[in-house]
């Protein structure tokens, strides 16, 4: 089983542990992961805020590279990159005239046929079916599954989980032996793109999220996006200042939770890299 991967910039830098845990888990399930060679940044929030054409061309180059390298299906662990890549593919399929413009800009052939999976879809497709026998240490914790914005919205592009009160991560965590809680901030925005430019805003938005999870007794927040992770984890100091309350619940990636349940080494999952200590 070979699967392409588009790691994206965060996974190479601030979210190294996400990459590490994805690779560790994939290996445990005999999935060969092939990185798209010479990939570029998807442009993230900045590109679509300033130029529509740029915001389409950057992801298009990535998808074209994947096509050239013969990859039929890629996983995009970063929810933001996933959203940009899926959005671009959708937009270009709908609008042939944009497609030709973009093809011109990237100077490469682009078909738009690569299958794009987010991390939860990848897990559902290739890991969940074989997971039961591998669990050595049921992940028996109360968890708040945090989906964020870009994993589920907009639904006509992503065609993934439902937009309100999504369930896919909760279902996945239940399979690991966890007890996902019902909470109110599953899909509220963490502040994402404003993390550096408006730290206070991010502290407010992420603060509400962390507080609700803590109030309802969650032992950890599970995320599927490096942006969400860095806001909820690295910005914890600001969050705690905003809430005027010290909240210590750690923030884990889905793949880290799986890794722990199937007994992988904590180092290999990069848990030591978190700002908020992971003590579960």
């Amino acid at each position: 089983m070979v699967l392409g991967i588009y790691p994206g910039c965060s996974l190479k830098g601030s979210s190294r542990e996400y990459t590490e845990s994805v690779l560790a888990v994939a290996k445990a399930f005999d999935i060969e992961i092939k990185e798209i060679l010479d990939w570029n940044c998807c442009g993230a929030t900045a590109a679509h805020n300033l130029s529509k054409e740029l915001a389409l061309a950057l992801p298009a180059r990535i998808l074209a590279l994947a096509e050239n390298q013969g990859l039929d299906e890629i996983v995009v662990p970063c929810a933001a990159c996933y959203s940009r890549l899926s959005g671009t593919q959708h937009e270009l399929n709908q609008h042939p005239e944009l497609k030709s413009k973009v093809v011109e800009a990237i100077g490469m052939e682009y078909k738009g046929t690569v299958g794009i999976l987010n991390i939860v879809q990848m897990i559902d497709k290739y890991i969940t079916p074989n997971i039961e026998s591998k669990i050595v240490k049921p992940f028996d914790h109360k968890l708040a599954c945090y989906y964020g914005c870009l994993l589920v919205r907009p639904k006509e592009v992503l065609k993934f989980d439902r937009e309100e009160d999504p369930q896919s991560m909760d279902t996945l965590m239940s399979k690991l032996g966890a007890k996902p809680i019902d909470w109110a901030f599953k899909t509220e925005c963490c502040g994402a793109g404003l993390t550096m430019s408006r730290t206070k805003t991010v502290a407010r938005l992420s603060g509400e999220i962390v507080k609700d999870a803590a109030d309802r007794g969650a032992e950890a927040i599970i995320v599927a996006c490096p942006m969400c992770h860095s806001n909820l984890d690295m910005r914890r100091k600001e969050i705690n200042e905003y809430n005027d309350q010290k909240i210590n619940i750690p923030v884990l990636y889905t793949t880290q939770a799986i890794g722990l349940a199937i007994g992988l080494d904590r180092e290999s999952l990069g848990l030591q890299r978190h700002f908020v200590k992971v003590e579960i």
Partner: protein
């Protein structure tokens, strides 16, 4: 030799605004056989019709083409006019210059050219028309009413009071419909059941009404005046003749915790039950899905306690076949259910309820005996939020229309809440207040001014629960779109009214049309709001579009009048647009070779076998024959017949062929 008259209508400016009517008339006057061609402002007006009648006499016309609106609109009008002018009504055809031309194209030569083409086809067609006479068919003076809500009840009583027999069928165990579930009614706040139950009893006791509850339409055959309906009477597991309605079985039934449909899941009922105390008929049914006996094979407590031995466990569904002359469909509406409002947490938070659930809470006969209490913990809500347009006017949810009744019942709910919970705070989030009705606006103002209901103009984005409170995130768009957050104890959704889940299937059984939302379609949006496109079938009440009680009742009475009109005749005339098998001289007698493949194609079993015999009685040949009483004129047999021995009057091979040729030769 044909002598055709062409009459081009301006329809005020509806046609003449984009079509050069004068040119159309001039061009038509040059066609072979056309001896008279004029244009006029309103052909359907009295003077317009007189023009036609006069021309028939003066010019000795043999055929008339009226180029005006859709034949579906005025064909009967002009055929009647021709008849009065002394011409066989079927020698008149219409060219559709309005719906199919002037209204859908811009002003210009191409539009006028199209109009000319359309007129020419009808001229060529009418040249080949044959005088026809209407077919007479008898009328069965019994009406079938489907649905026993307020509309069905009203229409049944009205028809029955005209002296005609009525068969009323209702799918639930009791008649009464949604109205029986309501607490009070707007704008008078009189008790719904108090005004409804006398009507229900009247239905049960009326000598002209046969009532079948727990019954649905199985199939329908036939046509106006002569329908045959099969009714499936579902097994109640109770012998209705023996049951006295004492209710012992319902009190002794050990399975008691089944969510009550009547109470919208807010209360319970046993497995053998009458839906509510005032049910008509007051005869219980056994719910076989939940009854212990049907699940496990033992129990039979009801059988033991029944004093009249009325329990019949092995009762089977019964199919009753009835002959009826007219049908009124009054099947009402449905309400959107959980999962439709995930952002409001409906189905997830017990204290987020629908308007209908609120009715049950507010009803004296409801699960809380009229006290407003939270379903979750029985507490009286101190703060309550009403969300109007929950689903309605929401394209994204597939319901772009306004459900019409919500503004009024929400005002009523808020009012009832303020009356019942002293010191309570109620907020209504609304988009527009649509209170167009007698005393409606005054009613809403009363809620705001006298009962201190807070109205906030804006839609709620989300409801979630925290620490036992429901956090309602709304907005006040009249304050420059200021976000508003309310911690409420209860949220009531004014849920959209939708078509009944079985509406599509029923429409297909009845062969009536329905709109994109599965509401039954009326024959004309303004002038025939009660009739359907299928003769003899009317609609009444909310099955046609969402309506309140006074509207449903008026429509029901209207439907009753339509039925009574129909039944005032002993014979109906039907258009003679039916199939015929040709006959010719011996030795051929008919070109039909008697393969009878048309028989299997006919949806109405209207094809019979005719044996042609010589004088000695020896069979010469068997040919097909159409039973004019059964043929509905679809023409499927016509297109199927290889030897073209069967043809359909009004759409004969000769007519349609020349229509098409006329179109293309010049086009």
């Amino acid at each position: 030799m044909s002598r055709i008259g062409v009459f081009v209508c301006h329809c005020g400016e509806n046609i003449s605004a984009t079509v050069n009517c004068q040119k159309v008339a001039e061009t038509a006057s040059g066609y072979e056989g056309v001896v008279h061609s004029v244009d006029y402002k309103y052909m359907c007006s009295d003077p317009g019709q007189t023009l036609i009648k006069q021309a028939i006499k003066d010019k000795n016309l043999t055929g008339v083409v009226v180029a005006a609106c859709s034949p579906r609109m005025h064909e009967p009008t002009f055929r009647k006019a021709c008849n009065e002018g002394g011409l066989n009504p079927f020698m008149c055809e219409m060219a559709n210059l309005r719906e199919h031309c002037s209204w859908v194209h811009d002003k210009g030569d191409l539009t006028t050219e199209k109009a000319i083409d359309v007129v020419r086809t009808q001229v060529e067609k009418v040249k080949r028309n044959q005088p026809l006479t209407d077919i007479k068919v008898p009328v069965t003076k019994t009406a079938l009413v489907i649905g026993g809500g307020i509309a069905g009840i009203q229409t049944s009583l009205d028809i029955a009071n005209c002296g005609h027999k009525v068969i009323l069928i209702e799918k639930d165990p009791s008649i009464g419909g949604h109205m029986s579930q309501l607490s009070e009614t707007f704008p008078t706040l009189d008790c719904s059941q108090c005004i409804l139950t006398p009507r229900m009893v009247e239905v049960a006791q009326h000598p002209n009404i046969t009532l079948y509850t727990y019954a649905e339409l199985e199939s329908l055959d036939g046509f106006i005046g002569n329908f045959t309906a099969k009714i499936r009477k579902k097994a109640k597991s109770i012998d209705e003749k023996l049951c006295t309605g004492c209710g012992l079985c319902t009190t002794k039934c050990p399975t008691k915790k089944i969510p009550s449909e009547f109470n919208e899941g807010l209360g319970f009922r046993p497995a053998v039950y009458v839906p509510f105390p005032q049910a008509v008929p007051n005869i219980p049914v056994i719910d076989r899905i939940n009854c212990t006996y049907y699940i496990k094979g033992k129990c039979k407590v009801c059988e033991k306690v029944c004093p009249t031995k009325a329990i019949v466990f092995d009762q089977e569904d019964e199919i009753i076949e009835v002959a009826v002359g007219a049908i009124v469909v009054a099947t009402g509406f449905g309400i959107k259910q959980p999962d439709f409002f995930p952002e409001y947490g409906y189905g997830k938070y017990p204290d987020v309820i629908t308007g209908m659930q609120f009715e049950r809470l507010a009803s004296a006969s409801g699960p809380t005996f009229g006290e407003i209490k939270r379903p979750s913990d029985g507490q009286v809500p101190k703060k309550i939020v009403f969300i109007a347009c929950a689903g309605s006017r929401d394209e994204a949810k597939g319901i772009p229309y306004c459900s019409k009744i919500c503004c009024m019942y929400t005002a009523k709910h808020a009012m009832l809440y303020q009356h019942k919970v002293h010191g309570g705070e109620s907020t209504v989030f609304y988009m527009d207040i649509r209170a167009a009705g007698k005393n409606y606006e005054e009613f809403v103002r009363r809620a705001i001014e006298e009962d201190t209901v807070k109205y906030v103009r804006g839609r709620v984005s989300r409801v979630y629960e925290k620490n036992g409170k429901l956090i309602v995130k709304g907005v006040d768009t009249l304050l420059g779109a200021m976000p508003v957050e309310i911690e409420a104890d209860m949220v009531v959704l004014a849920t959209a009214g939708v078509a009944n889940p079985g509406a599509e299937e029923l429409a297909q059984k009845l062969h009536i049309s329905y709109d994109g939302y599965k509401f039954f379609a009326e024959s004309h949006p303004k002038l025939k709001p009660i009739e359907t496109n299928t003769g003899g079938i009317m609609v009444a009440g909310a099955c046609q579009s969402i309506r309140d009680i006074p509207e449903s009742v008026s429509m029901a009475s209207g439907a009753a009048v339509k039925v009574a009109c129909l039944f005032s005749q002993n014979e109906l005339t039907r258009e003679p647009l039916i199939a015929v098998v040709n006959r010719c001289a011996a030795p051929l007698y008919s070109t039909c070779v008697g393969c009878f493949l048309c028989q299997s194609a006919c949806p109405y079993q209207a094809i019979e076998r005719e044996e042609i015999k010589d004088r000695s009685g020896k069979l010469i040949k068997s040919i097909a024959k159409v039973n004019p009483g059964l043929c509905q004129g679809c023409g499927t047999c016509v297109a199927f017949c290889r030897s073209r021995s069967i043809d359909i009057q009004g759409y004969t091979h000769d007519q349609v062929y020349n229509e098409v040729m006329a179109l293309l030769n010049e086009y």
